[in-house]
Point group: C2
Chain length 473, copies 2
Amino acid sequence: MRSLNPATGEAIGVDFPRSSRAELEALADAAFDAIDFLADAPGAQIAGFLDDYAARLESDRDGLARLAHEETALPHAPRLSEVEFNRTTFQLREAARALRDESWREVASDAKNSLRSMRVPLGGAVVAIGPSNFPLAFNGVSGGDFCAAIAARNPVIAKAHPGHLNTTARLFAHCAAARDAAGLPKAAVQLFFDCAPEDGESLLAHAGVAALGFTGSRASGLRLKAACDRLGKPASLEMSSVNPVFVASAAATARAEAVAEAWTASVLLGGGQFCTKPGVLLVAGEDAAARVVARARELLSAAAPAVLLTAAIREHASRAIDALRAHGAVPVAGGAASGPGFRLAPTLFAVDAAFARAHRSEVFAEAFGPLGVVVAVEGDAQLVDFARALDGQLATTIVSDEGDAATRATLLGVLRFKAGRILDEAMPTGVAVSAAMVHGGPFPATGDGRHTAVGLPTAAVRFTKMLCLDRVR
Amino acid sequence: MRSLNPATGEAIGVDFPRSSRAELEALADAAFDAIDFLADAPGAQIAGFLDDYAARLESDRDGLARLAHEETALPHAPRLSEVEFNRTTFQLREAARALRDESWREVASDAKNSLRSMRVPLGGAVVAIGPSNFPLAFNGVSGGDFCAAIAARNPVIAKAHPGHLNTTARLFAHCAAARDAAGLPKAAVQLFFDCAPEDGESLLAHAGVAALGFTGSRASGLRLKAACDRLGKPASLEMSSVNPVFVASAAATARAEAVAEAWTASVLLGGGQFCTKPGVLLVAGEDAAARVVARARELLSAAAPAVLLTAAIREHASRAIDALRAHGAVPVAGGAASGPGFRLAPTLFAVDAAFARAHRSEVFAEAFGPLGVVVAVEGDAQLVDFARALDGQLATTIVSDEGDAATRATLLGVLRFKAGRILDEAMPTGVAVSAAMVHGGPFPATGDGRHTAVGLPTAAVRFTKMLCLDRVR
């Protein structure tokens, strides 16, 4: 298997092997060498591994960012070499800190009843499957799930994303060097590049594997969720979200163009390939909505085609466009794929509320790419109705002015149960790494709205079990 | 549907209706009247309801305990009228406390990034299905899941257990009076008595229902888990556990008879119908095991048949006995069901390690009733092997002396990943209500080892979602 350069469609780097079922089983067997070691090692030893790993990455910052750029077409600077790179090393150091301060343990004690409770590792490896869109910060060998799993002292078996196999191999070389230098067992972090889906499920079923951390498409996520549910193993799944923006009527009238500009910029960011991209903008008031559409159309028509991460993402975006077309919607900007490589013109749909009600699942479907839908809603009451009908979301934004106070309050009351994160005014694409962040949300945005995938120590809790020592000497 | 007196098999009390699918839907529709109310009400108002409810229960202590005794055959005093009753009112008051101090919210803030995160209710009712064996303290209208769901400000739709319908109706009368007196909507707590299984699943699928809290058999739990997993709704499931006791060789040799006495008492407690009953006792050393069996046989043979909670429990116990017999094991005490009502003679099996390895699923199967299995294990190393092969458990006990220090340490290292709670020496049947308790454990003991069903505020977290307010005014 080889990565393709998304700007040209040409294969780059080396050919990576598909692991057989027996090879995957060997990884899971090996995990037993690391489970007790990591559970019992001094926190400083594992933390030292992560700190050293971060330092090694920094010594290869430019090479890694260039390679990631070549494989993903994401901008070299500042996106990869600064923003995402610094996020990655920050997360590694946050995980090191959690290992030193043990904040993820949530220790409780009750002297009267001689009880002590705490969180412990799961007793098996975490299979970490990262997404296409963050080759560094959500990579299975360096990203959020990796950090959370290691912070809670679990071995990691990572699967590389096919979109950035060479970057993953280069990250892993640094990881393995730091792991060995710190004296951790090789099985503390293992990597494979590819497998048959049914072999991946048999890996999950192995006794050496305790949990799954997955970020990716809804289709793959649901398949893996079903497998883990049958096994009774915890799965942390970040799957899909359209992150709608609700624009109340007074704000829409007062500043339709400014709203269009903020939204368009967020839709275009990273080629429209953030899981927090605001794919749908609901605007109360048909006149204001028409102004929003006019400005968004200007901006999107003027923007260059985005180079998408993979052929599959472009295909998925094209299918999403075709699904709206099939119901009679016509793009007011873009709509066409182009070459070389995997390009898509920035694309805008403008639909009315009746269309959005009739074709809710097509309008509110996640699609990576520079693609957005403006829904012209009759008024504030209908805005609230759309909020009530929403599926679980990672994030959602309310745009309101003073005159919209009642609508904003009602929307907040509805959306608090629908999304992991609510923003006033700001577009949802920025996700700060913080203990007060929630990158989560009810199904189907994730598998379980009780957890967050970003922010330590909270994200580490996903990969723990609770243990009470009851009158233990 | 009528409850039966387990001591006589005769129907008692009134005939309770089976709710139709439409009636269940009406409960879920009504929940929308309570979701926002409970989310926004002053904590003191909901806490006041719980405190008043506890006081109303106390004013009817004797009547409730007598009725529960009639329906369950559990001892009136001290079990029902004191121990379980006080546990129930304590839990209600702990939930009131959590509502006042909001400890379950797990608030985090990050001024630099303008983030505030917290837990919020789920935005839908929790369906609470309690078990047969705690008519008060785990009842859907008064027990642990009820308290946890209300503490996190969720409406509750409870299903009565068929074993104690009249007790549940009487509890609910107090609950409804307190609910109304506190000015809460009727839909804050609703009750139904019976439904067809497929209608129960359609209730779970309703938009007004957000989660399930279930305590009961593994078969029912797995069916409900599959339904909730498909829906992507969180389910808290406490299903089955055999809670094995590991007796290391020095302790076994030094005090075989005392171990047998402690274990037998725990097996007989409550008719052997605790989810933490230590169903299997593994003893290192064949001579010591023979002494344990001899003493346990004396005690169990001398004990009166236990009156079991329901005909179904006796049938399940009989099937468990038959399954061991079918492989050639012969009870060394008891083994027979008897009447009147639902009685079973205290029953002891004594098997060797080879038998337990060959028929692991039958030996390590949960069965309510005064039934236990002693496994004579060759030595300490084999004890550890059995620990490694264990499924997820609620609790497990290690019995060891000074000479067993190495074995104990190894067992602790293995069992920390297998059980929600580990005890030194003490039998697992007592579960203190404490913030440092873990009544949980990996699948299949529960649905998710990351949570506990006992102890506030931790148990309330099961019925929450995380929310981040990001730059919200």
